[in-house]
Symmetry: C2
Subunit: 429 residues, 2 copies
């Protein structure tokens, strides 16, 4: 972790830079996979399972027996933990339901919005070393609350052709029954175009590797919506002399273990806290199973000493972190000043892990500075808000003349005429 | 307008097809413009003003005098009309403000969301034959309500180097002072990258031609957010024997006059209404200044007779229209059944023009079937919803053990450790 002491503001734009990813030129590879799945459907999926997942599948869809087996395989305490997380996530996302409010903007003119679930959504859950069943809670629960009619899930099989039981258990728990053994760009293609086994969806959610990300970017240009643009995970911690360096180090490491390209930033007005945190990092790092990954992430990470906590907040707003932890005793004092962040953790007991798993907030958040212009996933992500309006005679009489003038000034006479004919009819009766 | 009588459901997928646009291959042209503006900034903008707008500009930004002049040029009745529209749009969009609700998901675990305006937004307003000042209301008003700190506007100049006074008046009315004489892909590039005159923004809104659309698509891949993907405007009208064919025809024409590629669809359970509407179309068309455009749009449009109004709704949901007019007496009975639409107009006096200008709803809506997976522009489009959480000792004690189990099962030990250390400290005190 490189330390910067009171850098000039003119250098801040350099300090907020994310690590530059080695962008492999994946376009051609992913375009070929998309085309192949579009044309050859299931046949292409079987082929890619052999090629990339090293398994020969009989069927693509998980059957009910596999789910029953998974339920029995999972230890009860883990099931209880998942259930607790589910309840909190449900409670928080339920509170995001918008009440329908009919607004009479002018006498006789009523306008309102209705939230309607996106009919068909697809969730992608990566496989690999860690079975990210927590992401199923984060995506499946709001999808159900939103009233999405068809919710499907794709996840890559292991070499034995199976999907991790924690994934099957969690999917089943949140009411997702259509689960498919497909990973990578081919999974995104299958959900975007549909195959014999996999239904086509209107919006695709979920994290993934570079192939998945590229596939999502490409299918977005073809009319399928996606949750948000992707980038490596990151945390920015603001600490002062009231912070606990042991906790701060643990939070930085829990981000660093995600991947070698994860970025962790410590910002503080206190030199001691920075030094103590760095000492704690070394101590805790040696204990971690994912030490090698976290070590790489720390190499591209930064500790920045600034003049005041207000300046730290200013820096954070410029950086626009996915996760922002304000590890100070008076963390709540800064709420009003936070303009760019995905999710904010206030005070010493609000660790990022809480939001990653079980507090109730969503962990699918904007990375890579996208917190400047994107929100994290919420109930909103799974609905369309359709506007409705109802004008009665009085309503059209009240606003009709204004519409006629504006339409005429825009040179749109048929727009004007639609009003004129109605006003004429009302006046003639 | 081609008439289809009781088509088979198997043919519906053909009937919902949008006209295929002659997609010029604009990629190379637009990529060059983007690069040029990125590298040469204002200098490139002056060059493109000469090339595309046929005008030699001295400065890019509109000065205060030009705005004052515009105010005096505009007739008072048009100003009054714009003011009335502004009030209704303000009232409706204000109602979309989300109240902050702190949710205690588990004792000691508090979660909430705060809506924070996107700091810097850019609005694009096309020039050309019609000065679309109404779009400034639709974008500028929610941007102000959202608390966006910097709101800028680009619109192409005419040959004399001026911008239409209605555009300047309306921009000033909604509090936008930074107005730039730039059009086309170069305007999108300028707002995405920033130039000497034009500040860089985080999200770009507004309609435009194929060059503008392509530029927005490309800069979205570079991290700048956009309002939504674009396509030609469209309306679907559902009519029955209670509908007024004169009004229905007027509504169809007010869509058709937008452009030769606009699509208008009439769906009805009543043959007479279809025939009467077609007769009315002929009658009204001959009176329109934009007759040539509307005539072309009608050529690619459809009247479809189905068995019942419920079937008409089913068809509409499959089509997912930008605008849906239910022109029947009992229109409100169908609200619950509408799953895919941008904005819905209920009953005979709710003409599309009302929503286009002055009822209060937004007219920036998803076209081309995007109503399946996108919402129209609203206050939401101008904010990020940042999640916050605060756990006290009791909170981390209540959910900590569940987090530890889940993190361990996902193989993320540093995530677990961030909780373990806190639980230890609490138990030791």
């Amino acid at each position: 972790m490189r330390v910067y002491k009171n850098p000039n503001k003119s250098d801040w734009n350099t300090l907020i830079k994310r690590p530059i990813l080695e962008q492999q030129d994946l376009d051609d590879i992913v375009i070929d996979i998309l085309k192949d799945v579009k044309n050859n459907k299931d046949q292409a999926l079987f082929k890619y399972a052999e090629k990339f997942d090293k398994t020969k599948l009989d069927t693509i869809q998980i059957d009910a027996n596999e789910i029953e087996t998974a339920k029995n395989q999972l230890p009860q305490d883990l099931k209880n933990a998942i259930n607790l997380a589910k309840q909190n996530i449900e409670t928080f996302h339920k509170s995001q339901k918008e009440k329908e409010q009919i607004i009479e903007t002018t006498k006789g003119v009523k306008c309102w919005r209705r939230s309607v679930g996106i009919e068909k959504v697809g969730l992608y859950i990566p496989g690999g070393s860690a079975p990210l069943f927590s992401t199923i809670l984060m995506l499946g629960i709001p999808a159900q609350l939103a009233g999405c009619k068809e919710i499907i899930l794709c996840s890559p099989p292991n070499k034995e052709g199976h999907i991790n039981p924690a994934i099957l258990y969690t999917a089943n728990l949140v009411g997702i029954s259509k689960i498919y053994k497909v990973g990578g760009a081919q999974a995104i293609a299958a959900m975007a175009y549909g195959t014999e086994s996999i239904p086509q969806v209107y919006k695709i959610f979920g994290p993934g590797n570079q192939f998945v990300t590229k596939a999502k970017e490409l299918i977005q240009q073809q009319g399928v919506a996606i949750d948000m643009p992707a980038g490596p995970s990151e945390v920015l911690v603001i600490a002062d002399k009231t912070s606990n360096p042991e906790f701060v180090a643990a939070d930085l490491l829990s981000q660093a273990e995600h991947g070698a390209d994860s970025q962790v930033i410590l910002v503080s007005d206190d030199e001691n806290i920075i030094n103590q945190t760095i000492a704690e990092l070394d101590k805790q790092l040696s204990q971690l199973p994912r030490k090698a990954i976290a070590e790489k992430a720390l190499k591209i990470s930064r500790a920045i000493q600034l003049n005041s906590i207000n300046e730290c907040i200013e820096f954070s707003n410029l950086y626009a972190p996915e996760h922002l932890i304000i590890a100070t005793d008076n963390a709540s004092d800064y709420i009003e000043h936070i303009t760019n962040a995905g999710s904010v953790f206030l005070g010493k007991y609000s660790c990022e892990s809480a939001g990653d798993y079980a507090s109730g907030t969503n962990h699918t958040l904007p990375t890579n500075g996208y917190a400047r212009n994107y929100s994290g996933v919420s109930l909103d992500s799974f609905v369309k808000k359709i506007t409705f309006q109802n004008l009665n005679k009085e309503g059209i009489k009240n606003i009709g003349p204004a519409i006629e003038l504006m339409a005429e000034a825009e040179g749109l006479d048929a727009h004007k005429n639609a009003v004129t004919l109605r006003l004429k009819q009302i006046n003639n009766v």
